[in-house]
Every structure is written in C-alpha cells, then in structure tokens.
C-alpha cells in the first residue's frame, strides 16, 4: 500500500474568510509579523501498491471529488 498526500487550497482569486479571521486573532495575540494565513485541506490517501497510474488516479479523484474547480486547486505532495 502506498500513501499519497494531497493538498487542496483556494485559488488566489477566492477570498479565504476563515484564514482572514485566524490571521486577525494571530495579530491580537501579538504575532505582528504574520501577514496572511490561508487555510487549506490535507488528504492522506492509501492506494494499493499494485495500482498502475497511481498519480493519474489520484489526480482524477482530486479533480472529480476533492476540489471544486470553480474555487480550489490541488497539489499532490508525495508518495511513500
């Protein structure tokens, strides 16, 4: 079995309201050097070792389910 990690983030054109609120509180707490915080999603996906085209399958899964292509983009981090 291999584990593939996928990160999902809002596209730059989308305002991340949650991230903005976290940044505001970080500022209140005194983290003055923090300029912006964006929140994404992290997935760990187990896929059977004898699968061909693992990356292609994970890409397809990401495009069809893990992201909303209007709003988000994904990065496949690593396979281990």
């Amino acid at each position: 079995m291999a584990t593939v990690k996928v990160l999902v983030n809002f596209k730059k054109s989308i305002i991340d309201v949650q991230g903005q609120e976290v940044e505001k509180i970080a500022d209140v707490m005194g983290f003055k050097s923090i300029e912006a915080i964006r929140i994404g999603k992290y997935f760990e996906i187990d896929i059977s070792d004898n699968t061909e085209n693992k990356e292609k399958i994970i890409s397809e899964l990401s495009e069809k389910l893990l992201i909303n292509p209007n709003l988000e983009e994904f990065t496949i981090l690593e396979e281990r």
Partner: protein
C-alpha cells in the same frame, strides 16, 4: 403529478418542504432517500436545506455524488422542475446543474434574517406568480451563502435572465446580490432563501407560497 422530496443524511428542512408542498398543491408527495438510484414516475424534484453529510469536504459535495443525483439529472434533462433550497442550491451547483458556487459569507458569520428580495425575472416556472421587480421577504439561515462565479458566467446569467432573485441589500457578499438562479433552460432553480419557511402568517411571511404555486401553475399548463 408525483413530487419527490429528496432526503440526504443531514437534511433538516425536508419536513418543512413537504409541508409547504402539501399546503400549496394536491399532488402526491413522497420522501425519497438519496441511496435510491431511480426517480421513475416522478414529475418534480425538491432538494431541501440542511447539512447533507455534515457539510464534510464542502457543502453539498458528497450529496452531489450519491445515487439519486443521476436520476435527478435525468429528470432535469427531461425539463421537469427541480428546486434546490439552501443546501439544495449548494448541491445543485456541486452537481453542475447550476453554474457558480456558494462560499462562506464574506462577513464570516452565519446569518439568520428575513431580508427583502427582488424578483428580477417573473417569466420562469418558479416565479410566474410574482410581479416583475416585486419585493418579497423570505428567511435566510446560512453560513455559506455567498454566491460566487467568474465574470463570464455572470455575464451569461445576466444575458439569459437566469437571475431570478436578488437581495435588495448586500447581506452575504454574493456577486450581483444573487439569491436565486435557474439553469439556462429555466427548469432547475436554486436559491439560498427558504420559501418553505414563509407560507403561513404565523411564520412572519407568506411570500414563499407563490414560488410553489408558480411551479404547479406552469406544470399544469404543460400537461
């Protein structure tokens, strides 16, 4: 005519919607579970509000992949009315039956209110009982109701008169103050406000009745 109210795990406005249909039409109404792959014999689909699948992943994302959605798409292709309210609207955008997306309100707050809305297009099967530019009041209750789309999609929505309801004031950051749209054919509508919660005087508004009445008037004309 037989109408389906779809029930997903986490739907919580299904009974209100059933009640609203019950008092606005004599047609048969049935709850249909989202595991059901078939909607044969049904003439209209109503997708209620709530938190389907706990809003996991994205609101509406998991519901949009359940077996019932293929059946809903088939009915939509046949020109039958499909209405999604609140989470139902989010599900319809995730199904790509409606353009755009619903994202977190720009204020970051969950909003419960009864804002004034403007009926921008009264020439659809969901709005023909209203007057053009009529001001109505319908309750809203959502954390992710900001309608977002890119500018070319917005242009299309405007040019094809797909914007049915607009907020009279900016309540949640929605582009063009959009509260409800239809597909290009005009038989699939999604809206964030809750017409099913505005059907009796005691609820504070009866302005939702005409939305349901519009559907049944048009469907009867079509039959």
């Amino acid at each position: 005519m037989k109408l389906a109210v779809i029930v997903f795990p986490g739907s919580n406005c299904d009974k209100d919607l059933y009640h609203a249909l019950k008092i606005t039409t004599n047609h048969n109404i049935e709850f249909v579970n989202s595991d059901e792959p078939n909607l044969e014999g049904f003439d209209g689909v109503f997708i209620p509000g709530g938190f389907s699948y706990g809003d996991y992943l994205r609101s509406g994302a998991l519901a949009a992949k359940t077996p019932i959605t293929k059946a809903i798409k088939r009915l939509a292709d046949q020109g039958k009315p499909v209405l999604g309210i609140c989470n139902g609207f989010q599900i319809l955008t995730e199904m790509n039956l409606l353009p755009g997306s619903l994202i977190k309100n720009d204020s970051g707050k969950f909003i419960c209110d009864t804002p004034t809305l403007i009926v921008k297009n009264n020439q659809t099967m969901f709005s023909n009982e209203y007057k053009e530019n009529q001001e109505i009041r319908l309750p809203i209750a959502h954390g992710e109701g900001e309608f977002y789309c890119d500018l070319s999609t917005l242009k299309n929505l405007r040019e094809n008169n797909q914007i049915i309801l607009q907020y009279s004031d900016d309540v949640n950051g929605s582009i063009d103050k959009i509260a409800g749209i239809t597909n290009i054919k005009g038989n699939v509508m999604g809206l964030m406000p809750h017409p099913e919660r505005a059907i009796e005087e005691i609820l504070g508004s009866k302005d939702g009745i005409k939305l349901f009445k519009s559907i049944f008037k048009s469907s009867e004309v079509n039959q």
